[in-house]
């Protein structure tokens, strides 16, 4: 068992409201990712679950039992810190053994467990070193080993891959997913990297300024963002948002363009809207049924694809294209829109209007 449920967490540091009523429900065995930009309150949420900070309001339930006032040691959790927090005076072996020593396990069990961990994470040759003699990737593995050496209720991970270089990060993503699957344990994983969130998570909670914006599977968060902000935060290149309004069976852009109104667009005529278009749902075309006229603004070749910037009115539209595409800035182009996959947001509240009709 390993469920984590937090309800109405509030925490302020001075004048800054770090958490503003955060409620999350992490089911047993889930890989639950808390995603948000820096300063969104992700780490504070994790520290609240761990019991490291005193809360202003809210409750933490572990396995259905109220653990809000429990000491960290009594919560039976393990945590990987962003900067690893390996004990500098202790060897790698002692670092990994620490959670078992704290719980006074017999030494035979400890050495067996440390050996198991060093096999799992390929750090056997490091056991006698001290943290200062390790590379960033090695430290990360040791920190992970220290967390995994026990079988706690849940694992808390605070941006554990942030300090690694790109290649290692991609490797460790796969590794972590593998470990999660083999352990079947509950992971609460904090990151500001949407790729990590989308690639590893069973469920994603998107956090902004201490408030939960949306909870759902990675596909849900990407395909059906609850609001304009989530749409803009998740996805790379970021979604393009065009101001417009509905007029009968058409959508009329502020820049003058018109598109057929999607059937699902359940908005009042004349109300200010934002049309959200992801780069992969757009293409630069000669002829198409639903198109936006624009001006080629720039090309951004990325190897496997080229992102074309097209200016529509005052806005830049990001369009994902074949890597072979050519063009000169200033050229007039048409952008074909896959309206079935477009998003519509209320310009005032930012909330998605796409869901009702779909």
């Amino acid at each position: 068992m390993g469920t984590v449920a937090v309800q109405g967490l509030c925490k302020s540091f001075g004048k800054v409201q770090a958490l503003d009523g955060v409620t999350l429900d992490v089911p047993d065995g889930a890989f639950f990712v808390v995603l948000g930009p820096s300063g969104a309150g992700k780490t504070t949420t994790l520290r609240a679950i761990a019991g490291l900070d005193r809360l202003d309001a809210g409750t933490v339930h572990l396995d259905g039992r109220d653990a809000t006032t429990d000491a960290p040691a009594a919560r039976d959790l393990a945590m990987v810190f962003q900067n690893y927090a390996l004990y500098p005076r202790h060897t790698v072996y002692e670092n990994i053994a620490s959670p078992l020593r704290a719980r006074r396990r017999p030494s035979g069990e400890i050495s067996a467990a440390v050996e198991r961990m060093s096999d799992l994470l390929h750090i056997g040759r490091l056991l006698n070193r001290r943290p200062a003699q390790l590379s960033g990737g090695e430290m990360q593995r040791v920190a992970l080993a220290r967390a995994l050496v026990r079988s706690p209720r849940a694992f808390l991970m605070d941006e554990p891959l942030t300090n690694l270089d790109l290649k290692l990060r991609v490797e460790m993503r796969t590794e972590l997913t593998r470990i999660h699957r083999s352990l079947g344990a509950t992971f609460v994983y904090v990151t500001n990297d949407q790729v990590e969130a989308l690639s590893m998570a069973d469920q994603v909670a998107v956090l902004k300024e201490g408030k939960v914006q949306q909870v759902g599977t990675p596909t849900e968060v990407y395909e059906r963002p609850a609001n304009q902000w989530v749409a803009g935060f998740v996805g790379s290149p970021p979604i393009s948002l065009l101001p417009c309004h509905a007029e009968g069976d058409r959508l009329v852009g502020a820049a003058g363009w018109t598109l057929p109104r999607p059937r699902w667009a359940a908005a009042q005529d004349g109300r200010p809207l934002l049309l959200g278009l992801r780069a992969e749902d757009l293409s630069v075309e000669r002829r198409a049924s639903a198109t936006l006229p624009g001006e080629l603004y720039g090309l951004e070749p990325l190897g496997d694809r080229t992102v074309v910037d097209v200016r529509v009115g005052a806005q830049i539209l990001k369009v994902k294209s074949r890597p072979t595409i050519t063009g000169t800035p200033g050229e007039q182009v048409l952008v074909a829109v896959d309206l079935d996959r477009a998003h519509l947001f209320d310009a005032g509240t930012g909330l998605s209007l796409s869901e009702a009709g779909r």
């Binding site: 490291l52 945590m79 810190f81 004990y87 704290a102 220290r146």
Partner: protein, 305 residues
């Protein structure tokens, strides 16, 4: 390839024309003439009294009073040093008792200040407290007053509670003076130890105090040593409280005891000098041991972390 800067320069293409700045530095062995002159003057002014004290301590009494003064060629004697420790009756001298008192008073008060100050510094560094800055300022403010300002009220209080003329009284007042200093200096050291070690330890299953004791405290040992030496030096050198609050020979510490040697009809300057040398030695040794931290302590807060 390991080539020092000097080698690289001399092996360069223009060895006959070194930069002018280097030429000046060569002549003065790395310092300009003005620097050397000023440093020499400063050194003589600072060190002459010390040299004179050491000379006096090993001169025979008639040489001490010789006019003109003899710098060299006097008879060397260690009688004064014997007199510091051995009394006229062959037993223990009053001065040696005073030195022992100094050791006890300085030692115990330092231990007390450290035991109280280090956990306080940890708490001030780690926890969010109401009006923390004001509290810390208040703690520091107890050091604003010079001892001579507070010695009279303390004398009266000590007389009431029976702490006058006792080593315990001195220990308590020195500890009280050293605790604020310990808190402030140790807080700087604790601030530099990441709190995450304790967080990690608590998740490992340790209590907060265990986490501090097992993981943070060992990292603080150099800082504690440096802070303790500062406290020790303060207590060892302290004169004002000692002379006002103690009077009997078996309680008095070394500073008032040495001062007490001056003021009779005749002054045994050799004995005064020898006692002063013995008194100064521990401080020199300790200051040497913590010379690096001495600078760190002085510049604490000025260094960006």
């Amino acid at each position: 390839m390991a080539v020092s800067v000097d080698e690289a320069v001399s092996a360069g293409p223009t060895p006959d024309r070194p930069p002018p700045a280097r030429r000046v530095r060569r002549r003065g062995h790395g310092r300009s003439v003005l620097e050397v002159v000023l440093l020499t003057v400063l050194a003589v002014v600072m060190l002459f009294p010390v040299l004179w004290m050491i000379e006096t301590s090993i001169k025979e009494n008639r040489d001490v009073y010789a006019v003109p003064a003899e710098f060299f060629g006097f008879t060397v004697t260690l009688d004064h040093f014997r007199d510091v420790f051995v009394g006229a009756d062959g037993g223990r001298s009053a001065l040696s008792v005073a030195f022992l008192n100094s050791v006890v008073v300085a030692g115990v008060s330092t231990v007390l200040a450290t035991v109280l100050g280090v956990p306080a510094a940890w708490a001030y560094s780690r926890f969010t407290l109401k009006a923390k800055k004001d509290q810390l300022f208040f703690i520091l403010s107890t050091r604003f007053m010079p001892p001579v300002v507070v010695v009279v009220p303390i004398f009266l209080m000590y007389r009431q509670v029976g702490l006058i003329d006792s080593k315990l009284g001195l220990i308590l007042i020195y500890a009280a003076f050293n605790v604020p200093f310990t808190i402030w200096m140790m807080k700087g050291f604790v601030d530099e130890v990441p709190a995450e070690y304790e967080d990690a330890a608590m998740l490992d299953g340790y209590s907060r105090l265990q986490a501090f004791g097992k993981f943070t405290l060992p990292l603080l040992v150099p800082g504690i040593a440096a802070t303790a030496v500062f406290a020790l030096i303060f207590s060892w050198n302290e004169f004002v409280f000692a002379i006002f609050l103690t009077s009997s020979d078996d309680v008095r510490t070394a500073p008032p005891a040495i001062a007490g040697l001056i003021g009779g009809t005749t002054v045994d300057w050799g004995l005064v000098a020898a006692a002063s040398v013995v008194f100064a030695l521990p401080v020199l040794v300790f200051a040497y041991l913590v010379r690096r931290h001495l600078v760190a302590g002085v510049t604490l807060g000025a260094v960006r972390r």
